[in-house]
């Protein structure tokens, strides 16, 4: 069962991710991204991270993807035009992709020596909402509160950046006195 779920997830994530890159239509890309996020959520589930799976669905597949789609619609983006392939870049890209695979092989060897096979039956002390909440609000309170600052900045930033072009004030007037 563990294996089956993993392989479904693996194929799903990979295919939809490739589709994101390969699709020329932004809307299609966005939808494929959403799909891959959902598959990832399933992967989280298979790793017994239930709360994170929910968060993944809500935040990513929900909020973030909607945001993306909304922007795509707002900007009324058309499909990208076909371009000729730069062979040099492609070769570089292949190198760029092959080397990490080799690295990965080494890491796989290392980690498999130390860890066991995935099994759901094992009673893994999984992190429930309660534990997570406790950790966040007690041990991790400081970073958590720091996140508030981050969100504040994000809010201000979005407001500033998406304001309509502010009417430039008179140059000569200098500092405003309204």
């Amino acid at each position: 069962m563990e294996a089956l779920i993993f392989w479904i997830v693996a194929v799903g994530v990979t295919v939809s991710a490739i589709a994101v890159v390969a699709n020329r239509n932004p809307v299609a890309s966005a939808l494929c991204l959403a799909t891959s996020f959902i598959f990832l959520a399933i992967a989280f589930l298979s790793l017994q991270a239930f709360f994170l799976a929910m968060v993944q669905v809500i935040v990513y597949a929900g909020a973030v993807m909607v945001l993306f789609l909304f922007i795509i619609m707002l900007l009324d983006l058309k499909a990208e035009e076909k371009r000729s392939i730069s062979w040099g870049k492609l070769a570089l890209l292949i190198v760029l992709l092959v080397v990490p695979l080799a690295v990965f092989q080494q890491i796989a060897g290392e980690v498999n020596e130390e860890t066991e096979v995935l099994s759901w039956s094992e009673n893994q002390s999984s992190l429930g909402v309660k534990e997570l909440g406790e950790a966040l609000f007690q041990e991790y309170l400081l970073p958590f509160e720091a996140t508030a600052v981050l969100l504040l900045i994000a809010t201000i930033g979005v407001v500033i950046l998406s304001q309509r072009q502010a009417t430039p004030k008179n140059h000569a007037k200098g500092s405003e006195t309204s």
């Binding site: 870049k89 190198v95 760029l96 990490p100 690295v103 080494q106």
Partner: protein, 611 residues
């Protein structure tokens, strides 16, 4: 005492330069007064006990090297001192007349005083470095005085040439001094003599080293006394005012080389080979210059070559001294001839000056003629001088001193002796030519018609110089120099030879030139002599040109290889590389992402992630 002799001319030079330059008359009097003080001082010194009242002044004192400005009081120095100061004094007087109307009179006298100071310094020098110091200083004053009329290109070139050629000699001289110092551990003459007589040098040295050292010292003499092959500057130096030629380039400075050789003879004596070289070079120069002198037309140049020739005699005498039984005879002969030569050559130059002065700077003998009637005093004193130079037997000083040298030559090397006689013959010939063409016969040219005798201030020194030119032979100068050790013995071979060459030269000259208006002898070899054997041209084509070409090549190398290729090349390469690196910054985000990710990849690789 030594300071009393040494310093007055310097003070005069300084005072004139700083204060009295606007007042030429006053300046000249100051200069003469200074010279007079020195002359009187040296006169007193001559007759006083030696070395009394000499004060050394320590110039430098470093471990292993102590240099003083001191004084030697031996007869050699005292004799030379008298010659220098008294001849100098007379020439000072003569200059009063000769330079009377020159706008640079004050400058002239300042430089003359500077020269007197330097020359006295050489004579007094009690160590090699002091000698070198004043050696350079006479070079400077000679340079300044030759270039006295610096507006004339010829004078400017001549002064430059004189200085540079002298510098070449100084180069060797300095190396010689260094060698002496390194070998014997001192530069002081007295100490050197002690060390050498004890036979211990501070450092071991090979015979070859000794020879190099001796030749180095000789090279100094070669420059200053204009010995072959560094003789080229002296004839050109005649561009200077005639009193300068008389004083510096005839009587005193050029003789300094000989004086120096006598002074360091005890060092030279260590290397017979070097002495051989000196002897041959000296005699060679004597002959060579005599040949050239027969074909010159400029009165001063003839005298200049004759000076060269006589200096060759003296140098050769020193060189030959190594090969005879009593080496001091050689040096004494050289000094003896130096002394007499100083008198009669100064006389001849001053006579020439007097002529030139009255002919408004006409120097070509073929444009003179019959001057003996216009300028009797000048003419007859000139004749006396000429006789002395030709070595007119018994009645002139030149005869005795030349005899002394020839005697040395006879003992040392018969070939050299024969060459000496040939030179004497030639001397006799060209001096006869000079006198006959310039002073006898018909006046040739307007200038001569209007010539008149020079003023008293010029003629009196002529007369005063003529006296010792005649009688100096009877003053036992050589005895004095050698400390009474010279024995005279009459060698009839020598006497006869001298008679023959004197008379032969006179007769030949008379026969060829009497009543001639232009040069009668015109065959090929003489052409060569007329052009001084093309030495100037040779040097111009080889050394000067070679040096210029080398300099040009080096300058090219410096500008283009080092300056452009290396230095600017580095800069240009950096700029080019910068341009290349800039190209990556093409503004495309994707390029930046590529750079970033390839960077990550490389980082992983370098880090050894893939072990």
């Amino acid at each position: 005492m030594n300071w009393l002799i040494l310093l007055p001319p310097l003070l005069a030079a300084i005072v004139i330069t700083l204060f009295t330059r606007p007042f030429p008359k006053l300046s000249s009097y100051i200069s003469i007064a200074a010279c007079l003080v020195s002359a009187v001082g040296s006169g007193i010194l001559l007759f006083s006990d030696q070395a009394s009242g000499m004060l050394d002044w320590e110039w430098m004192n470093l471990p292993g090297l102590r240099i003083t400005i001191g004084a030697m009081g031996d007869p050699l120095a005292r004799m030379m001192l008298v010659v220098v100061t008294w001849v100098g004094l007379l020439i000072h007087f003569f200059s009063l007349g000769y330079m009377a109307k020159d706008p640079g009179k004050a400058r002239f006298f300042a430089q003359l005083s500077l020269f007197m100071f330097s020359m006295i310094g050489i004579v007094l020098a009690n160590n090699l470095v002091m000698m070198f110091i004043f050696w350079e200083l006479v070079g400077l004053s000679s340079y300044l005085l030759i270039g006295f009329w610096f507006q004339r290109p010829a004078a400017a070139e001549a002064s430059k040439k004189a200085f540079i050629v002298n510098r070449v000699g100084d180069f060797g001289f300095l190396l010689g001094i260094l060698g002496v110092w390194a070998t014997f551990g001192t530069v002081d003459f007295a100490e050197l003599e002690k060390v050498i007589s004890n036979g211990v040098g501070a450092n071991p040295i090979t015979q070859g080293g000794l020879m190099l050292m001796a030749l180095g010292l000789f090279m100094g003499c070669m420059g200053k006394s204009a010995q072959f092959p560094l003789h080229v500057w002296l004839p050109d130096a005649m561009e200077g005012p005639t009193p300068v030629s008389a004083l510096i380039h005839a009587a005193t400075m050029v003789a300094a080389g000989v004086y120096m050789l006598c002074r360091v003879f005890f060092i030279l004596d260590l290397s017979p080979a070097a002495l051989q070289v000196i002897a041959w070079i000296g005699m060679g120069t004597a002959l060579f210059a005599a040949v050239i002198a027969t074909r010159q037309n400029d009165i001063k140049r003839i005298l200049a070559y004759s000076t060269l020739s006589q200096l060759g005699y003296m140098v050769s005498a020193v060189g030959m001294a190594g090969a005879i039984e009593h080496p001091e005879y050689g040096t004494t002969a050289a000094m003896y001839h130096l002394t007499t030569h100083a008198f009669f050559k100064a006389l001849l130059f001053l006579g020439a000056g007097s002529v030139i002065h009255s002919l408004h700077h006409e120097q070509n003998i073929w444009k003179m003629g019959g001057l003996i009637k216009k300028m009797p005093v000048t003419g007859w004193t000139f004749v006396i001088g000429t006789l002395a130079l030709m070595g007119c037997p018994y009645i002139t000083a030149g005869f005795w001193s030349k005899e002394a040298i020839l005697a040395v030559a006879l003992e040392a090397n018969p070939v050299l002796c024969i060459l000496g006689f040939v030179t004497a013959l030639l001397t006799s010939f060209y001096m006869t030519r000079l006198v006959i063409v310039a002073f006898f016969g018909q006046p040739r040219g307007d200038e001569v018609e209007h010539a008149h005798e020079s003023p008293l201030v010029m003629t009196v020194p002529l007369v005063l110089l003529a006296i010792p030119s005649l009688i100096a032979g009877y003053l036992h100068i050589d005895q004095f120099i050698a400390g009474g050790k010279v024995e005279h013995h009459v060698d009839f071979l020598l006497l006869g030879g001298s008679f023959v060459v004197f008379a032969g030269g006179l007769a030949a000259g008379w026969y060829v030139y009497w009543q001639k208006n232009e040069e009668p002898l015109t065959f090929g070899f003489l052409k060569l002599a007329e052009n001084k054997f093309y030495f100037d041209e040779l040097y111009a084509a080889t050394i000067v040109r070679g040096q210029d070409l080398l300099a040009q090549a080096m300058a090219w190398f410096d500008q283009w290889i080092i300056g452009a290729v290396l230095v600017r090349g580095v800069g240009a390469t950096a700029g080019l590389l910068g341009q290349c690196f800039r190209l990556f910054q093409n503004g495309m985000i994707q390029t930046y992402a590529w750079i970033f990710l390839l960077g990550v990849l490389l980082l992983c690789l370098v880090m050894g992630v893939l072990s």
